[in-house]
């Protein structure tokens, strides 16, 4: 199915959105990414990824309530769609299958 493959960064973003629940908008997604992966991603990168995901149908967005701190400008909140959840689960399953077929010996004694 066209567009059902997602890249690594897209996957991370989707996971962040899912984990943030109600508070998932571009700036908070950036912060969450930083917290979990340690990668400082620019707003522009995240923004365009969100746009791509939107076009692929993996997320949908709605505008929230205006807040004082942004001069009254509303935030755009994202949530993962059904298709997005499916894509995430598929990726997870693929990874797990691959992991299962690797003998544990290879990773013995390695600390991160």
């Amino acid at each position: 199915m066209k567009g059902s493959n997602i890249g690594e960064f897209e996957e991370l973003v989707l996971l962040c959105i899912a984990s943030l629940g109600e508070e998932a908008y571009s700036v908070s997604i950036c912060d969450e990414l930083l917290r979990v992966t340690g990668r400082k991603s620019k707003l522009g990168v995240v923004h365009s990824v969100l746009n791509r995901l939107n076009e692929k149908g993996m997320v949908k967005s709605h505008l929230g309530e205006p807040t004082q701190e942004r001069g009254g400008r509303r935030k755009r909140f994202f949530e993962v769609t059904h298709a997005g959840k499916v894509a995430l689960l598929k990726v997870k399953e693929q990874r797990e299958r691959l992991w299962q077929s690797i003998p544990p010996l290879i990773f013995e004694g390695i600390k991160i």
Partner: protein, 870 residues
């Protein structure tokens, strides 16, 4: 306290971003900005913000142009067009004022565009022009200023021919002119000696003959179409023989089309260079390839590849150094000049006939820009002043839904429409002023300012740009007007720094006009000064006649017979008009030589012109065939070689280069030999062993015309071929300063323009001001104010502006003339207070008149009628 990101960056974002995303995107960016400002400091935050705004300019964020919106935009534009027209016709007086101002200034703009377009075409017809370079030479002697020349030594050509980078070399000599005879026809022609590759390098269209071989052999000649017609009529010229140029026989090997007007090389014929070379050699003259022999020859080279120019430059540098070691105080430095840089180009000496000084072009350009700006400011001023009147209209438009940008567009469009109308007027004006401009022929500008249809493109672009410039500021002001306030209470509107800006613009206009006036006055005075300058000898009623090859003694004798001819003398050149003949002289020290200027004259010359003798005696009549070893020198020569006072100097000897030793037998007082921008050099008068080229006549007659007629008849008896060529010395001097007349004419013309524009502006402002204060005036009048005090009060602001402009204009022109321009002259006028004040005086007078009659009309009006109709 909330800090905000840079407003201008925000504006850019708002401009390009799609409405759907704008809000949240901008919000996100602001949030990040605040965070950065807290954590990393304001500077980093702003920087990041700006960079982000740029980075977000992407396909998915920018606004989409929907075909509907284009259609809407067009319809809107059309409605603006209609409104503009309506507005223009409604306020006829202001429109007329604005229109005239713009039209006048734009006509100069058009003139410049046409001029530049024509000059750009110079030498464009040569196919290989990107690879053609002329070798120019800079001559420096001792402490004199370096003199760059268009001519160079043939040795350069020889050396360059050996370089790999150089494909072909063309060597030419100038002053190839004389009479040519074929059968019974004798006609004077002017041209060049040119080497073999001339027709290959330059693209002159060959009508007959083989360009490759035409100039290869000695005694061959190439004619232009017109010359061929003159000599041979409709017959083919190929193979025919002509007599000319030192009585040689030349065979015609080719005929080319006349060099077009846009070629810096103009000639009637080209004689093969090798003829000249061989003739020189036959005479035993080996000096042709001397490095210092740089005055008469031109060298052009064709490179294989224009990129190799730097190699040739380096080679020339090396050659300069090698060759100049031979000369002590003097240096000749050759360098390359691109063909396209010749016209227009720097002011070199010894140029071929056509040249356009690039400084002149820059000055003209700057001046026209200033004039156009001046008119734009007029429009701006008047429009801003009238904004109040349009406020209600703006209010309604905004209420209906016009965005600020749309209001802005409307008014800019109005200005552009205006400007386009002005352009039509300006075109008409252009054709009017064109003959006037061309008649400033002292320029020697080889253009005829033909208006080609495609010029309309740059001209229209220019008109649109002018409209935009003029209308932008008022549009900004108008679009800022808040709708509610405009509709509710018009008088409460604050105009954006209205008064100060308008005053500044007005001061600018007046300053320009006054500066022009002052410049004209000073230039004119300097010109009259130059022309009337006491040269140290008499030039009044002296007529100089060219001998043109005839026996000067016979001519002198015949002329002296005519009553009215007081005295006759002969010489080879005419001093104080820009020509100079020079040589080198030594005294006792063989290492110390100086350059001097000279004139070869007969025994009557010095007395005819009333030179002041300080010591010694005049020349005596020289019998045929004998040689005189006597010279008469000026005081400067005495100073140069420390020869003591005039009486002591008599009898001392000087050695003249290539001529031997001469004895000083007379000393004359210093006189002005060159034009008054130069000082004096040592000068030598000598008697000539060959024939003299010029006959000088001192005339005295009540009927000059009859006398001239007699002279002409006498001439015809001796010479039937050549026309009688005579010129009064004083006229010739005026001609020498002709460049200054052209400057005066142009500056004078521009003064008229800028004065008209400023006065138009002043008139408009006055009318407007009085109209808007009608109520105030009438109330004051009723309360008892006198008419004069009212008038004074109304005009106070303008008077202030005029005085400020006067001071600034005086300052600017003083600096320019005192420090830059006049300092180049050895002899010059002193700038007086009256000169500097002339601008102020004239403008004040004109301003008083224009403001005056209008003010009087207003101030006299019956206050009752005004208040009733308000």
């Amino acid at each position: 306290m909330m800090t905000n990101p840079p407003r201008w960056a925000d504006r850019i974002l708002e401009w390009y971003c799609r409405d759907e995303i704008l809000e949240d995107l901008q919000g996100d960016l602001h949030e990040i900005f605040r965070k950065n400002a807290r954590e990393k400091g304001l500077f980093r935050a702003r920087l990041t913000y700006i960079v982000d705004v740029i980075k977000f300019f992407r396909f998915y964020t920018i606004k989409q142009f929907k075909p509907d919106s284009i259609m809407q935009a067009l319809i809107l534009l059309f409605s603006y067009w209609k409104t503009s027209l309506r507005n223009i016709t409604r306020t006829k007086l202001f429109s007329l004022i604005n229109l005239s101002g713009l039209a006048i200034s734009m006509s100069t703009g058009i003139l410049m565009i046409v001029l530049l377009a024509e000059i750009h075409q110079f030498d464009m017809m040569h196919e290989k022009r990107d690879r053609i370079f002329r070798v120019i030479n800079t001559f420096k002697n001792g402490n004199d200023a370096a003199e760059p020349c268009a001519s160079t030594s043939p040795l350069v050509a020889q050396k360059l021919a050996g370089l790999d980078a150089v494909d072909k070399v063309v060597l030419m000599r100038r002053n190839a002119s004389g009479d040519f005879q074929f059968e019974d026809k004798t006609i004077p022609l002017g041209g060049f000696w040119a080497s073999t590759d001339f027709l290959d390098v330059f693209s002159f269209e060959v009508l007959e003959g083989d360009p490759q071989t035409a100039l290869r052999d000695p005694n061959t000649i190439v004619l232009t179409e017109t010359t061929s017609q003159k000599l041979f009529g409709n017959e083919s010229a190929l193979g025919k023989s002509l007599h000319g140029l030192n009585d040689n026989l030349y065979t015609v090997t080719a005929v080319v089309k006349d060099p077009p007007l846009y070629s810096h090389l103009q000639f009637d014929f080209l004689a093969s260079f090798i003829t000249f070379e061989e003739a020189r050699r036959a005479q035993g003259d080996e000096s042709l390839y001397d490095w210092s022999n740089m005055w008469m020859y031109y060298t052009y080279i064709l490179l294989n590849d224009a990129a190799q120019k730097t190699r040739v430059d380096q080679f020339l540098e090396k050659t300069n150094q090698e060759q100049n070691t031979r000369y002590e105080n003097t240096s000749y430095s050759a360098s390359l000049q691109a063909l396209t840089d010749i016209v227009p180009g720097p002011n070199l000496s010894n140029q071929t006939r056509t040249r356009v000084n690039i400084n002149m072009i820059w000055i003209l350009l700057a001046l026209s820009v200033i004039v156009v700006l001046s008119a734009c400011f007029n429009y701006t001023n008047l429009s801003i002043a009238r904004s109040l009147g349009r406020a209600r209209e703006v209010g309604i438009r905004k209420v209906i839904g016009a965005s600020r940008g749309q209001v802005l567009t409307q008014f800019v469009m109005e200005a552009i429409v205006f400007s386009l109308f002005a352009m039509i007027l300006a075109l008409g004006l252009f054709f009017l002023i064109r003959p006037y401009f061309l008649s400033i022929g002292e320029f020697d500008l080889p253009v005829n300012l033909d208006f080609k249809i495609w010029y309309l493109v740059p001209v229209t672009a220019f008109a649109v740009m002018t409209g935009f410039m003029a209308g932008f500021l008022p549009s900004l002001v108008l679009s800022k007007i808040k709708a509610i306030i405009a509709l509710k209470d018009v008088t409460r509107i604050r105009l954006f720094s209205g008064i100060n800006l308008r005053m500044v613009l007005m001061v600018f206009q007046f300053t320009i006009a006054m500066a022009m006036i002052i410049a004209t006055v000073i230039s004119y005075r300097q010109y009259r000064f130059a022309v009337n300058f006491d040269l140290g000898y008499d030039t009044e009623n002296v007529l100089n006649i060219k001998a043109q090859g005839n026996d000067s003694r016979k001519l002198a004798l015949e002329f002296s017979r005519i009553p009215g001819v007081q005295a006759v003398s002969r010489s080879i050149m005419i001093p104080s008009t820009g020509d100079s003949w020079g040589n080198y002289a030594k005294h006792v020290d063989p290492a110390d030589s100086t350059i001097y200027n000279y004139n070869l004259v007969d025994e009557n010359y010095l007395t005819l012109h009333n030179f002041t003798f300080l010591a010694g005696s005049n020349f005596k009549e020289l019998p045929d065939g004998s040689v005189s070893r006597e010279i008469i020198v000026n005081e400067e020569m005495l100073r140069r070689f420390d020869l003591g006072d005039p009486i002591e100097a008599i009898g001392k000897q000087l050695t003249l280069l290539d001529e031997g030793a001469y004895q000083i037998t007379g000393v004359v007082a210093d006189f002005q030999f060159k034009t008054i921008d130069s000082g004096n050099r040592p000068f030598v008068f000598k008697q000539s062993t060959e024939d003299y080229a010029i006959i000088n006549l001192k005339l005295r007659s009540r009927d000059m015309q009859q006398l001239m007629g007699q002279l002409q008849d006498t001439w015809k008896q001796i010479d039937q071929v050549h026309p009688f060529e005579a010129e009064f010395f004083d006229d010739r001097i005026e001609e020498a300063y002709a460049e200054y007349t052209s400057i005066i004419k142009i500056v004078g013309f521009l003064s008229l323009l800028s004065i008209s524009i400023s006065i138009l502006g002043l008139l408009g402002m006055t009318i407007y001001l009085t109209q808007s204060r009608l109520r105030e005036i009438s109330i004051r009048k009723i309360l008892g104010a006198s008419e004069s005090s009212l008038a004074l009060q109304l005009s106070r602001t303008f008077l202030g502006a005029i005085i400020v402009s006067g001071v600034i204009a005086a300052g600017i022109t003083y600096y320019f003339f005192e420090v830059r321009f006049l300092s180049n002259f050895a002899h010059r006028i002193n700038i007086g207070i009256l000169d500097l004040g002339s601008g102020l005086i004239i403008i004040s007078l004109i301003a008083l008149c224009t403001m005056g009659w209008h003010l009087i009309k207003v101030v006299r009006a019956n206050p009752a009628t005004i208040l009733r109709s308000e």
